[in-house]
């Protein structure tokens, strides 16, 4: 009796979850298949899961003539590596100081970090500050610095880990042995905090890889600094612009010639998610841990 109910439940649960998993993955499958579809077939029959004719043209095109794609890819990789490293360095150092109860002024510093989570100036003042005061418009800094480099939430998360996960006695013992604050931090506190450092690093890395807003807002002229997300964004904007102004046909033809074909665009989008899909199986546990850490604080 009991087992029958259990079996029914398992069957029901698995069916629901298979449907949901399919919903989550199907759009990605459509994307990948259309990147391998012959462009004329794509235009004639539309996006399809079972295309009439397959083709590797899109990928050949990217490798042979798509300099801008490879360049943008390089920018994305550089940005993600540099951004994540810098972010981890400044976040862990600040969090470590805030975790020390004996530091004078710790309360005020913690409040300053915390306040950024409650109130922020928003886009306009931030934009004015970065363009007028710092002049980072159309520089690589614009991709790296605004909003992404550090956030209060990660600092406080890291700080509470240092408080609870790194025993005071261990740190004291190191200092009695003559290690300075910085050495204690590098040699003892940081290795003990590895799990949370990895988790935060993962979130920061994904945020950098996926970011398109900084480039969109600040890179108005330097398209050579575009990350892969910016490049993808630019293309879809051009298409949108042309379809909205399609009455002007001669103009549209000129524009269309410079926009890569549908399958090439799809191949570029595939390239844009590829790193995430590749690392996903390896970092998944860390990622799940990060969500539970961040979702329910404490």
């Amino acid at each position: 009796m009991k087992t029958k109910e259990e079996k029914r439940y398992q069957l029901f649960g698995n069916i629901i979850m298979i449907i949901l998993s399919a919903c989550a993955i199907i759009p990605l499958i459509l994307l990948v298949i259309s990147s391998f579809t012959d462009n004329d077939t794509l235009i004639r029959n539309g996006y399809s899961f079972v295309p009439e004719k397959l083709s590797l043209y899109a990928y050949e095109y990217i490798f042979n003539t798509g300099n801008s794609v490879i360049h943008a890819y390089g920018i994305s990789i550089l940005l993600t590596a540099l951004g994540t490293t810098l972010s981890l360095v400044i976040t862990t150092m600040l969090a470590y100081t805030l975790s020390k109860k004996y530091v004078p002024g710790r309360g005020i510093l913690t409040f300053l970090v915390f306040f950024t989570m409650l109130f922020n100036g928003g886009l306009v003042p931030t934009y004015m500050n970065y363009t007028n005061t710092f002049g980072i418009k159309n520089t690589f800094w614009a991709l790296l610095v605004p909003n992404l480099l550090m956030n209060g939430f990660n600092v406080l998360l890291m700080k509470s880990y240092f408080v609870t996960g790194v025993p005071e006695e261990v740190l004291e013992a190191a200092q009695i042995d003559g290690a300075g604050e910085f050495k204690t931090f590098i040699k003892i506190a940081l290795p003990l905090a590895k799990p949370v450092v990895a988790t935060i690093g993962l979130f920061v890395g994904i945020a950098y890889w996926n970011d398109w807003q900084n480039g969109y807002v600040y890179l108005t002229k330097r398209t050579d600094l575009y990350s892969i997300q910016n490049l993808l964004n630019r293309m879809i904007q051009n298409i949108q612009f042309l379809s909205q102004n399609s009455s002007n046909i001669s103009n549209a033809n000129v524009g269309l010639a410079s926009i890569p074909s549908v399958s090439v665009r799809m191949a570029m989008a595939v390239a844009g998610i590829l790193p995430i899909i590749l690392i996903y199986p390896f970092v998944q546990n860390n990622f799940v841990k990060g969500i539970t850490l961040g979702g329910v604080k404490g």
């Binding site: 009991k2 109910e5 439940y9 398992q10 649960g13 698995n14 979850m17 298979i18 998993s21 919903c23 989550a24 759009p27 990605l28 459509l30 994307l31 259309s34 235009i43 539309g46 996006y47 399809s48 150092m93 600040l94 470590y96 100081t97 530091v103 004078p104 300053l112 950024t116 409650l118 109130f119 100036g121 928003g122 886009l123 306009v124 003042p125 931030t126 934009y127 004015m128 500050n129 007028n132 005061t133 710092f134 610095v145 600092v155 604050e181 910085f182 996926n210 398109w212 997300q229 993808l232 879809i236 844009g272 899909i277 996903y280 998944q284 799940v288 969500i291 539970t292 979702g295 604080k297």
Partner: protein, 317 residues
């Protein structure tokens, strides 16, 4: 007596404090880059908020521009836009909160009971959309909705003999599309939070209930959901606190900035963005931005105040 004691202690205390500060110099140096960044990124822009009370003149800069008093706000709230962006921001968030909570709890309960090896696969699959950038999400949506060669028009509506729909210019569909896309993207994330809470529950309750002959459904209704209540209340409150903010990527990228859809896709964030960078209407943009910052702050603050009353461990402060 105590007075003299403090008088004696004060210099001593001060000296001690200085010794402490000196001792902490390496720690201050370590904190410096982070503090500097917060100063640049979060505090230096704040004075720029006065722009909302000015008639901005690019040549004179923020501080040189003449004051406008409350007239920017009067103008903003006299337009239809203020009402539309506030309504859209709040209504979409309400729909997201309700749907995300219900779906995430349902999925978390189903997942928690599944014993097969596929459990891990399901969890990975539904979390995947959360990792995809808004730009690529807009590509995915476009593959389905493109008027000329989208999957829905070509492979679903055409075989059924239904005329194709030009999705990007018909606004009545977009509230559903945006809610669907948002759920698709965030369900895995929310589900994991609930799932981790459910896994932490004492198995004893379920064993006792099973001995008493309770069915699965009864166990869910009488044990799991009541035990989840504090988590639900807290997460809902925290999202209500953020009800004045919207996911810029979702509302800007997914409808592809299509003008025909503005009345159902424009939120405070997209309005501020367009004002600043597309229309050059900086005063309206900064007025709307300040409106969002202030109301948003009040809401986040209040929500956290209530969370602290309910469950002090999970409040921000």
């Amino acid at each position: 007596m105590s007075k003299t004691a403090t008088a004696v202690n004060t210099p001593e205390k001060k000296r001690k404090k200085w010794v402490m500060i000196k001792k902490c110099i390496p720690l201050y140096l370590m904190a410096l880059p982070g503090v500097l960044y917060l100063f640049i990124n979060n505090y230096m822009p704040l004075p720029g908020l006065v722009l909302a009370f000015k008639n901005f003149n690019a040549r004179k800069g923020i501080y040189g521009s003449p004051w406008a008093g409350w007239s920017n706000f009067k103008y903003l709230f006299a337009t239809q836009d203020a009402w539309i962006i506030t309504r859209n921001t709040i209504l979409y968030n309400v729909a997201f909160i309700i749907l995300n909570t219900v779906c995430a709890i349902a999925v978390a309960i189903i997942l928690s009971e599944i014993t097969s090896k596929a459990k891990k696969f399901y969890q990975s699959a539904i979390l995947l959309p959360f990792l995809i950038s808004a730009v690529i999400v807009s590509y995915l949506v476009f593959a389905f909705l493109s008027t000329e060669n989208g999957f829905i028009n070509n492979s679903i509506l055409k075989p059924l003999g239904i005329k194709s729909i030009s999705w990007y210019s018909e606004k009545q569909y977009w509230p559903f599309i945006l809610v669907f896309v948002n759920t698709w993207k965030t369900i895995g994330y929310n589900c994991i939070i609930y799932l981790s809470t459910i896994i932490g529950f004492d198995k004893g309750y379920y064993e006792a209930a099973a001995i008493d002959g309770a069915t699965k459904w009864q166990q869910i209704k009488r044990i799991t959901i009541p035990l989840l209540k504090p988590t639900i209340i807290m997460l809902v409150l925290l999202s209500v606190g953020r009800i004045f903010y919207s996911d810029f990527g979702l509302f800007y990228q997914v409808p592809q900035n299509s003008g025909a859809l503005y009345s159902v896709t424009n939120t405070i964030d997209t309005y501020v963005y367009r004002g600043l960078l597309e229309l050059g209407d900086i005063t309206m943009s900064s007025a709307a931005g300040l409106y969002q910052s202030v109301v948003g702050f009040i809401l986040v603050f209040t929500a956290n105040l209530i969370v602290r009353k309910v469950d002090s461990e999970n409040a921000l402060f």
